[in-house]
Amino acid sequence: MTRRSWWRPGWWRLAAVPAAVALPLLLSAEPAAAELDGPCSASGVIDGTTYDPKTADEFDGLPRKGDVDWTGSVTPAEGPPRATKGHVKVKLPGGIGEVTVGSWSEPDDEEVSKSDVYEYDLPAVVEGIPIPITGVHEEPGVRCEGSVTVTIGDGGFGNPATIPALVLTALSAGLLVVSVKAGA
């Protein structure tokens, strides 16, 4: 009887490293494109560039800080006035939940369009991370849902956390190899 020839010490270690790198790439998917359903419109202008989820597919390379001239409008089915409500949420890592970053609710809303200027300043560590944002606006006979994935800056090595993360990744991989070989 012959011992299993494939069961040689070392082969699976060699296979584990490329598998660990390839698996996430195979399972990964492109960030969802921007979309906005319903009789609503919403857009923002940053540094002269208009970002509209109904016309743009990608919201990449947004400046880390600046002013956004935003505007939103709806074609009401009733009124005005009518009751309106809605919210904007940011999805949490891994899809474990959402954080509400803005909401509105008015029992007698007479406006069908709003606009303002919002100043923002985000930390550099979010650069390159595709951040999914969703929004909903509801009123009698109308429900608008929108989603967009925004990416701040270029990411990659432009993010100050990238090099430390890569170094720590290499150290963790090394420690994993040591844990396998320990005591040999």
Binding site: W7, A20, P24, G94, V180, K181, A184
Partner: protein, 107 residues
Amino acid sequence: MMRKRGRPVVGAISGFFLGLLLAIDLLLFSVVALDSILVLVLPILGLVVGIALPLIARRSAAGATTPEVTRAGATPPPTGDYVAAAPPNDEAPDATTGAPGEPAPSS
């Protein structure tokens, strides 16, 4: 005495952080979105792999020590490749002396 290979606890810790950091790397390079399930799966996968690899290495090392034990005359009898590698005298203890591999005393 040979130490056992593989340290599952160290492997679990390093595997978890390897998975977590890989997820962070994928985020930083815009490969996956923040809400991707991979951000949760990779640390868990790393944890499992980090535990499994040292255990496999330990099992593999334990298998590799088997022929030395059997050649010393301990049970169980050798199997697999080591059957062919063992000298014929090792196959059974000598009936006269009770020790394997020793020549019988001359009368």
